[in-house]
Amino acid sequence: MNYSLTILILLIPFATFLFNGLVGMKFKPIVSGLIGTIGLGVITLLAYLTAWQYFFVDGMVGGSFPKVIAMSMEWLRLTDALRIQIGILLDPISVMMLVVITTVSFMVHIYSLGYMKGEKGFERFFSFLSLFSFSMLGLVIATNIFQMYIFWELVGVSSFLLIGFYYSKDSAVAASKKAFIVTRFADLGFLIGILLLSYFTQTFDFKVLTGTDQSIFAQTAGVSFLGMSVMTWAALLIFMGGAGKSAMFPLHIWLPDAMEGPTPVSALIHAATMVVAGVFLVARMFPVFYFQAPDALTVISYVGGFTSLFAAAIACTQYDIKRVLAFSTLSQIGYMMLALGVSGYGGHEGVGYMASMFHLFNHAMFKALLFLGAGSIIHAVHSNVMQDMGGLRKYLPITHITFLIACLTIAGVPFLSAFFSKDEILVAAYEHNKLLFAVEFLVAGLTAFYMFRLYFNIFWGKETHYHHTPHESPKTMTIPLMILALGSVFAGYIPFSKLVTSDSMPFESHMDFGIAIPSVLIGLTGILIAWILYKKESKIPERISKSLGGFYQAVYHKFYIDEVYMFITKKIIFNCIARPVAWFDRHIVDGTMNGIGWITVTSSRNIKGMQSGNLPQYGMVFVLSAIILVLIFSFLI
């Protein structure tokens, strides 16, 4: 059982990146497009083979799925103990992520062939996509936390490049900048967390960190800062990194703006893969959190819960369809985080962990589907606000059907994939924390409501007449939709509890109808309300929003978080730190240097009287100084 081929999973996308980036513009655009897509297809195949081999050919060793180091080379030796390895670690979650990423990425590649046709910088787009795939894959198969950090940064930058793809659009530039800086700020926490962790444990290696042997944490015993144990600090700081990438409250602000990027990018990066990196990070470090920093896990669960509610609320009020999807992404990731937070370790205790991974998998499918669908809608109507849409079902049949499927899935309608995962999450929450369970229960309803608000507004609602009739997108775009639709229907039947679990030992998970049925019901209620409000064009929504008044405004303006950030950055950082520093440097530090020069010159001007040109005065100075010297040296010394 060797996985030597898995190295190609990293090399191929990197090669295509280099090719498209350096010489891509020399050829016809389609060439680079095809190269990128084919490359991705190949590694998708490889990923499936790997998954197959890992789960079903090699299978379990001693009742659990082993952590296989497929390949590992020393990249940089920092100290004798701390060496940065670049390698490939295969275990249930990384293999699962491989499958998810390659699938979605492949779909997006195909889709982009159609969607981006004729765009300026086609080859640039594909080289960036390859770069992203490369970094994301590198992230999930990291053997150690530092390798993860490396690819973490690369993911960040490729997201920056892709959001700012339309670089002559100022809003896009601003959005990309925001995304990068916010995540960078979060990464600072991650880095400091790594520093703490590596200082106390003297290792980066996941195998050691998440292994059963807890003795490596002996150093940390009793070390605490501001009343929290150092491991809690480390865990929280590392989670801060995760929260940044996964856009958890309050670091979520970059994600809605990130929708400035091309829609396939939103589908790939800001729905399916990169934004769940945070979840993946927590899952990857789960034993460390669970055994060393349980408080951190609690924090995570609350952050997740709050974010999911908060985002769902905002999603109900937005009109830009991509933003609605973005907020729903936030809310779903909140689910996953919460699930991890409430999870236990091992056996049925770890149902939350399993559920979170499960939901991650399904979410990737249906959210990518939703975004791609939104893309094809925008492609058709050249706008992405609901007001310009309505009754599109006639024009875009395939998009319509697939979109509907996705909406049903996310709404948790029975026997579609999300139904299962969401149920598991609710179960985990229920067992662990009733309050959070209640929140999630409510969010389930909200989700159903805003998704169908979206759906009805687009495909039903008022009969808009378009100056040129929308037409269904080309095959390159519709085929991925269908495939993903299949994915989001049937992904739920994968027996996750057999494959991806907290201690990688399978356990029996069973449907808990006590929780499933109410959640389905509340979902259906949400759908029903949406039906009433938005099926036909009606004045009711306005009236409701009026009646809610201030609250509605607050929600509509995303609780003014952006404004707060604006204030902090522009006013505090720029005006209250950078500007004074610049001033201080110019006037105080530099002023001192110039002051020295000034003093010299002035003193030279002031003593010029000594050289009066008058002979007797010369004589006087001469004699007096001679006498003074005599007094000093013959009598004082």
Binding site: V157, S168, R184, S198
Partner: protein
């Protein structure tokens, strides 16, 4: 014939050659040829050095050669290189090479320009190869002085003021150095005849009182060139007024003389004092890291931005040196090299952009990505390198420094490290601000559309700088391991008394 002497002889011959050229075309060709030879020599040097190491020749310095100069004063011309110096020499030759091509279009007094530029380079090379502190100091000053003419004659903006300020401050630094060097020289009489020789000085353990007295002189003296807060103010003015190649050379190589000197002379020869006083300078270095980064945020002038970021990055070098463990010092040297390359790249690109837009104010530019993609992409790469993107040299350096410094047993040092890490965010802020304003967005002016993209010579100088950045970024372990070996003697001496 010792290959190291070639590194001095070639530039001198080049200067003589330039004297006999007719016009600016001849001058620049002569300069280019000379510096190409120099680069080749440096590469050969590196290869043969590590070939010898592989052959098992241990001995801190190789290619030693020594010739007595002033016998009664026991001053020698003695050269030799260790694993750090060879890399520094390679860096210097790369930057000079790029600098020549970056200043291809200098026509006003071109011969004088190239002559002074290469004299400056001679000083740098001499500094890195010399083992005798007297010759080292001689070359140091030789490197500083042409700067005045280069900035004063071919500079822009308030050039006389900046040139004078830069020269006087650096000379003030060397004033401190003279005192320190003489101290070392005369206290070396404890073991045999007085000497300036680094190797022999490194065998002596000086009395603590003497170390306490002279360490600040040496460290600050070199520190000024290393832009140690608050003595960094020559750097913004100097860099912003200097012509392209000079900024490249100065920020890229000359500022490294400071860090190198701090390590090689101040800390290496006076270890106890270094251990004892490190905390003072550590605080200063930490300040300059954060302070430089914040200072860069507010600037409008591209060169000011880079000058301040250089302050920040060079502060990181001193910071890491003062941590005094193998990893951090290793990181410091890598940072010197990486910062040398990327800041040179920055200044080269700024010069090229300025040559087209005739302004360096970022508020008056925008959308260059549409018109000069090559330069813009290069600029983005430089920016990413300087904000520490994995796969480029900056990341390697910074991470080595941070991890290394954080291994320090003392809490104070670890806290300082955490403060220093915040600079990576601030760096990201100002780099992205520049990239956003300058390259992205709408095309600002109509005449941008006539801009030609990079000419062949510009491409050469850009590519020659980007390549090593990427190579170090991708495959740092060779560089890092060689440096670790080279650092051993220094570390041993530093930690001997702990």
């Amino acid at each position: 014939m010792n290959i190291l002497n070639l590194l001095i002889i070639i530039p001198v011959l080049t200067v003589i050659g330039i004297v006999f050229t007719k016009d600016f075309k001849g001058a620049r060709v002569a300069a280019a040829v000379g510096m190409t030879l120099q680069l080749i020599t440096a590469v050969i040097l590196v290869i043969s050095f590590f070939a010898q190491r592989k052959a098992g020749i241990t001995g801190e310095f190789l290619f030693l050669s020594d010739f007595t100069w002033f016998k009664t004063l026991n001053i020698h011309y003695s050269v030799g290189v260790d694993g750090i110096a060879v890399w520094m020499l390679l860096l210097a030759s790369i930057v000079v090479f790029a600098g020549i091509f970056a200043s291809w279009q200098v026509e006003y007094l071109a011969r004088e320009f190239f002559i002074s530029l290469i004299l400056l380079a001679t000083g740098v090379f001499g500094f890195f190869i010399s083992l005798d502190l007297f010759t080292m100091f001689l070359f140091y000053e030789l490197a500083v002085i042409p700067m005045y003419l280069l900035i004063g004659i071919w500079g822009s903006g308030p050039k006389e003021y900046s040139a004078m300020k830069l020269t006087l401050m650096l000379m003030g630094g060397s004033a401190l150095l003279v005192v320190g060097l003489l101290g070392l020289y005369f206290y070396s009489s404890a073991a045999g005849p007085v000497t300036f020789n680094l190797l022999e000085l490194s065998k002596i353990s000086f009395p603590l009182a003497m170390q306490r007295f002279f360490f600040p002189f040496l460290f600050v003296g070199f520190g000024i060139l290393g832009a140690l807060f608050p003595l960094h103010t020559w750097s913004p003015d100097g860099h912003s007024s200097a012509p392209t190649a000079v900024s490249m050379l100065h920020a890229g190589v000359l500022m490294k003389l400071g860090g190198y000197g701090c390590m090689r002379v101040a800390m290496f020869l006076l270890p106890e004092a270094a251990q004892e006083m490190s905390w003072i300078f550590l605080i200063l270095a930490t300040i300059s890291i954060v302070y430089g980064a914040f200072g860069a945020i507010w600037q409008k002038d591209l060169k000011y931005i880079n000058a301040y970021s250089s302050v920040s990055h060079c502060g990181l070098v001193l910071f890491a040196l003062l941590m005094m463990n193998r990893t951090s010092m290793n990181g410091a040297v890598i940072q010197m090299i990486s910062h040398g390359l990327m800041t040179a790249l920055f200044f080269a690109l700024i010069g090229m952009i300025y040559g087209r837009t005739h302004t360096r104010n970022i508020d008056q530019m925008g959308g260059l990505m549409n018109v000069i993609p090559f330069l813009s992409v290069a600029y983005v790469i430089a920016g990413l390198a300087s904000l520490g993107l994995p796969g480029l040299s900056g990341f390697v350096a910074e991470m080595t420094i941070f991890i290394g410094s954080f291994q320090h047993p003392d809490t104070f040092h670890r806290v300082a490290t955490i403060i220093a890490t915040t600079s990576i965010v601030v760096t990201a802020v100002y780099i992205l601000r520049v990239v956003g304003k300058l390259l992205l967005g709408q095309i600002r002016e109509k005449e941008y559309l006539e801009f030609p993209d990079a000419k062949w010579y510009e491409r050469i100088s850009v590519v020659v700088l980007i390549l090593p950045i990427a190579i170090i970024g991708f495959y740092p372990s060779y560089l890092s391991s060689t440096l670790l070996d080279a650092l051993n003697p220094i570390i041993e001496r530093l930690t001997a008394m702990l």
